[in-house]
Symmetry: C2
Amino acid sequence: MNPTAERLAFRTEEKKGTTSGMCPGYVQTNMVTLPKEYAFDFLLFCERNPKSCPLVEVLEAGVTRPKTADADIRSDLPKYRIYKDGVFQEEVTNIVDYWQEDFVTFLLGCSFTFEEALVHAGIPLAHQQQDKVVPMFKTNISLEGAGAFTGKMVVSMRPIPNDYLDQTLAISGQFEHAHGEPVHIGNPADIGIDDIQRPDYGEAVEYNDTDATPVFWACGVTPQHVALQAKPSLMITHAPGHMLITDEVDPYYRS
Amino acid sequence: MNPTAERLAFRTEEKKGTTSGMCPGYVQTNMVTLPKEYAFDFLLFCERNPKSCPLVEVLEAGVTRPKTADADIRSDLPKYRIYKDGVFQEEVTNIVDYWQEDFVTFLLGCSFTFEEALVHAGIPLAHQQQDKVVPMFKTNISLEGAGAFTGKMVVSMRPIPNDYLDQTLAISGQFEHAHGEPVHIGNPADIGIDDIQRPDYGEAVEYNDTDATPVFWACGVTPQHVALQAKPSLMITHAPGHMLITDEVDPYYRS
């Protein structure tokens, strides 16, 4: 299935599941939609924290069709989450009834793209093998704040077999619009993670720490985490794992 | 003289001249100050056009002290220009009386930094040898608009001796926060410039077009040019050639 067909299936609600593994090679993005009064501060926050918030595209107030995807962002993702004053309200399959003309939408790079490249290179990913959602952790790594948006970085963790560490760094480093190089390798306590078996988001994965090393990447949950602490009157995001599939082929897969 | 001493001389109005050639190796920046209502659109414009508007730093509403310079941006540049509704009002040596708490300030990379590196490498720059302000031209190169901010790119032109072309590209390409690689090399008509001896800003330079080739770089006048067409109620910029000298040493000069 190509991006157009998958997005149509989401629009008609024929499909509602995760986009993980769909349309290999095509860039998938996180989505954050905010009223325009918050847009400058959030854009500046992304600009100041590019590893956590790699900007793929910004849709100006009222714009519903991205340039990177022939899509309607109100209906063409499988699932959305609605937050009011920083409190989760509900999960919905489209946001047509919530849409306001002053909504600014941010599309941010996500790790699905570099995960595909790692798997393609023969590097095993424990969470995929164990059929889990990648484990994510709050850290003590401070972000550079902008206006009301400030806080700590959230990271995803993948245990990488020691023989594959160099190759993993080299490959993920090429995805600068999808979190790029890891932010930390090794001891979880160094970045404020007390228990690697108790993630804040996603699910714990099993691994043997004599053969594998935990590797931590900046995570697309960070902007949601930070935005919720800022308590905007209304915020809409994709549901975790339920991304926008764009029509852009990642440069890594071109030619 | 170091950046601190030079900025103090501007603050006390002991000096009011161009910063060209001052504090070699230190990053100098263009400055654009706008009321917050325009800040999201202008920041997005910079994000979408990084060659013309390379962001060095954004100072949030009311902030007068940058992180990149131990300075007060209301007084520590030699000269400023005030524009109302897109119309030039006056040139002033400080903006203390104009300052508003909702002012957002953008510091953008400038070509002074890579010019120093070219000269250091032995590449002659005609405008410096002829003691002229570098010639600048409006082009037909469209920029990607954001809100009210849209228009064409302004470029600076330096005739480069043919033997030095490769070296010039290699050096300037390393200054990604100061316009980086040229946007065009050769025939001025290709980018909509009718007469290379009649620049839109700066002064014409003489050169022999059998020995040298005109090379065009994205220019820091572009954001001013575009912002003025957007006619913001109030806009303050540095006076051309009268930059903020920061405390940051360009990575090119480090180690």
